[in-house]
Amino acid sequence: MRRITELAVIISLILGVSVLLVLAASILIPGVEVRQLAFFYLYTTINPWFQNYTVNSPEAVTAIVWDYRGLDTLFETSVFYLALIAGLALARGLFSETLQGSFNEKTSGLSTIVKTVTRVTAPMIIAVGASIGLHGHLTPGGGFQGGATIAVIPLVFIVVYSAFFLIARGVTSNKMLVLRSIGLLGIGFISIATFLIGLAIGRFAYVFQNMPKPGAIVGLPADINGALISGTLWFFNLFEMIAVAAGFTIAFIILLLAGRGGSGGR
């Protein structure tokens, strides 16, 4: 009962305060137009008549994430990476991925029904995730979104079967770490790819450059044979997808196996 009264007080407060605020609608209420910076992004995200500054991707958010503000995203990915590394550092010696005793696929995990349903839906979900990831420069979605959708599969397999089910099939944290590092190195090298191309042909090019810019004419192609790939965006999405899917899997494997054997520290 106490909770209900507290809640009622809070909700009525909100409703009341809003009445007051409506009289003084200020900067924080969305208006009819967007800001000029947003207008720039919307105007140039794909614009054949503005070739000096365009990304050639109809998806403005992915364009901002990987091109206009690509540096942010590189380091955002590194934050996730460093958090995983910090987690691995904390769990070092606390978990082991070798089987202790016997592991029976029948008795561990949830019931057969759930297992079978998971088995059937897994390829479908991976296809959906890959579609979200690989169409990131065309429709909402992108590397992180696709990778996270794909990562639901290892997570659900871990929960529905057992962590050892994956390990018995070779999905260990070490392998996933390699996969993740490969994805991240891919992102890193794509981010300086244009620079390196420029270096090779003796032209100036920026780090994170995608399309040619005034004063830096090196750039990656926007489409291949009519299929839009938006230069670096496609590669970024691909590598990010791999890295994120592997990263989520590592996180769950370590967390679930922590405290389960291992040398116990030091």
């Binding site: 900067i27 503000r69 942010d72 590092s181 620079f195 920026y206 780090v207």
Partner: protein, 546 residues
């Protein structure tokens, strides 16, 4: 092709690529390779920052456009003489720390994760310093923070380390969330997250060429809210009272090289960012208006309080690393006293001297404090304990390290001719210039109060006997590293008259440099894109809802 410019752009991506590659080296199975990667990363940092500093002194602030996007539309790195100086300092000290980590390797059971996080930390610090974008600053603060949390908790078997990391991380995450809100509010108010454009946007008299251009009240309060939220994370990172509570726990519990990095380098980020926000973005006569002086004065008072608290708490510590951590709090207080001199409006000379003092203090403190932590690591290793009672007399086996330690303490306490003297002198001079004799007295009082703490360490390490002295480590080469850093303290003090121009230009970059900063930003925006900025600002100041 401009080498320095390219190096500036490549610096952080290349550093983080090194960090990505280190776990691969673990799986390949070579410890040497990991170490080589870490060393090459830090050497690359040293090379780039040196080149950048050189270019900045020859040509003024330089700007790097990531992806070729002009400022305001993309992310830029903008380096003027202030962040070039601190960046150089960071890279060099980080190199020393990486070398020291090799000596420290006996304590690192699985160095892969350690080196990855260490390089991540360096990337974070340098990114925070060089970036010219308020949101990128948020991302880099998170890179720095997450590496710092992981490194503080690195000695997992110590309950204290985990506890310190938990407290540090929980409140730190809240603080960075608030910084994110602050950036979003800035964007809501001014329509930009670029520091140069913000510096332009917050000064309506530049835009409307009339000194009396009125700032709408909503915008003023919004600026105040956003500066309050962002100052929380900056003062948290630099452990200013009352946000200092985590530092004495977290810094000592980290592995010793990391303590050196945290105490010597990470705290600078907070000071730098505060200065950047309060001078470059919200300078005099900006949209923050009269609140700026109030904020600055509050920061000054907090600086004084934390100076005293650090000095007082230092006296009753038994743990050598904890004592040094409290000393960090005290010195950050002093640095803030210098940096926050901006409330002396109308007296540019005074502000310039005090801010220069603050900058010199950052430099002096970084070198001395990281060196002291490393030296304490040597003694702790020899005695097998962090307690001052156990360390008694250990220093006699390490003459160079002991000498370095004494000189470092002298520099911190402000003895001539070490660099630490000049910092306090210039802060005092600045405030004297403004007619305040109280501040020099306060500075002297803080220094005097911290002396007993330093003496306690020196007497324990050198002038008493009866410590435990268990495992004396044979690798004495590390002393040369420490002594080299000490020599730099002396050298910086001796040649101070010739290097004064560096600090002066750094101080100028803050106090009067906003116009250079924003001009450099604006001239990098092509003419056909300038309209986007002007239209936005006209709308913001007309109070029209976008």
């Amino acid at each position: 092709m401009d080498l320095a410019l390219n190096l500036l752009g490549l610096l952080t991506p290349v550093l983080i690529i090194h960090a990505f590659a280190i776990p691969i080296a673990k799986i390949v199975g070579s410890r040497k390779l990991q170490y080589a990667l870490a060393l090459s990363a830090s050497l690359f940092g040293v090379l780039s920052t040196t080149m950048v500093l050189d270019k900045v002194y020859r040509e003024g602030p330089i700007i790097y456009l990531y992806g070729g996007w002009p400022p305001h539309f993309g992310i830029v790195y903008e380096v003027d003489s202030l962040n070039a100086l601190i960046g150089l300092l960071t890279a060099w000290i980080m190199l020393a720390i990486v070398v020291y980590s090799y000596w420290y390797r006996h304590h690192l059971d699985d160095p892969t994760w350690y080196y990855t996080l260490l390089i991540g930390l360096e990337t974070g610090i340098i990114g925070c310093l060089y970036t010219g974008d308020a949101f990128n600053l948020f991302v880099m603060i998170e890179v720095l923070s997450i590496s710092a949390y992981g490194l503080v908790a690195y000695h997992r078997d110590r309950a204290e380390a985990i506890e310190a990391a938990a407290k540090y991380a929980l409140i730190g995450a809240v603080a960075t969330t608030f910084y994110f809100t602050a950036v979003v509010l800035l964007y809501a108010g001014y329509g930009s997250v670029n520091m140069g454009v913000l510096a332009y946007a917050t000064r309506p008299w530049l835009l409307f060429s009339s000194p009396l251009a009125r700032v709408p009240d909503t915008l003023k309060y919004l600026s105040l809210l956003s500066i309050a939220l962002s100052l929380w994370v900056f003062t948290y990172k630099s452990a200013l009272f009352p946000n200092h509570f985590w530092l004495p726990d977290a810094h000592p519990e980290a592995p010793t090289p990391v303590s050196a990095a945290l105490s010597g380098l990470v705290v600078n980020v907070g000071v730098y960012a505060t200065a950047r926000f309060l001078y470059t973005i919200f300078g005099e006569n900006s949209a923050l208006g009269e609140y700026r002086s109030i904020v600055m004065f509050a920061l000054f008072l907090l600086g004084v309080v934390s100076g005293f608290i650090g000095a007082l708490m230092m006296m009753k510590q038994d743990d050598i690393k904890r004592l040094l951590a409290y000393s960090t709090i005290s010195h950050m207080g002093i640095a803030y006293m210098g940096i926050s001199a901006g409330f002396l409006t109308g007296n540019d000379t005074a502000v310039k001297y005090a801010v220069a003092g603050g900058v010199i203090h950052v430099v002096a403190h970084s070198i001395a404090k990281s060196m002291l932590f490393m030296a304490s690591g040597v003694f702790i290793d020899a005695a097998g304990s962090r307690n001052l009672d156990d360390i008694k007399g250990v220093g006699r086996h390490y003459p160079l390290a002991s000498a370095s330690m004494i000189l470092g303490f002298l520099s911190l306490a402000g003895f001539i001719p070490l660099i630490g003297f000049y910092s306090k002198r210039y802060i005092a001079q600045g405030y004297l210039n403004a007619g305040s004799a109280l501040v020099p007295v306060l500075l002297i009082a803080i220094s005097a109060l911290s002396l007993p703490g330093y003496l306690k360490v020196v007497s324990a390490v050198l002038f008493s006997t009866g410590g435990k002295q268990t495992g004396l480590i044979k690798e004495k080469w590390i002393e040369y590293l420490l002594f080299g850093m000490t020599l730099s303290l002396i050298a910086l003090g001796v040649v101070f008259q010739y290097t004064w121009s560096i600090y002066e230009s750094a101080s100028n970059a803050l106090v009067n440099g906003y116009n250079v900063y924003l001009e450099r930003t604006l001239e990098n925006i092509p003419p056909d894109l300038k309209g986007f900025i002007y239209n936005e600002l006209i709308r913001a100041y007309a109070g029209v809802k976008p």
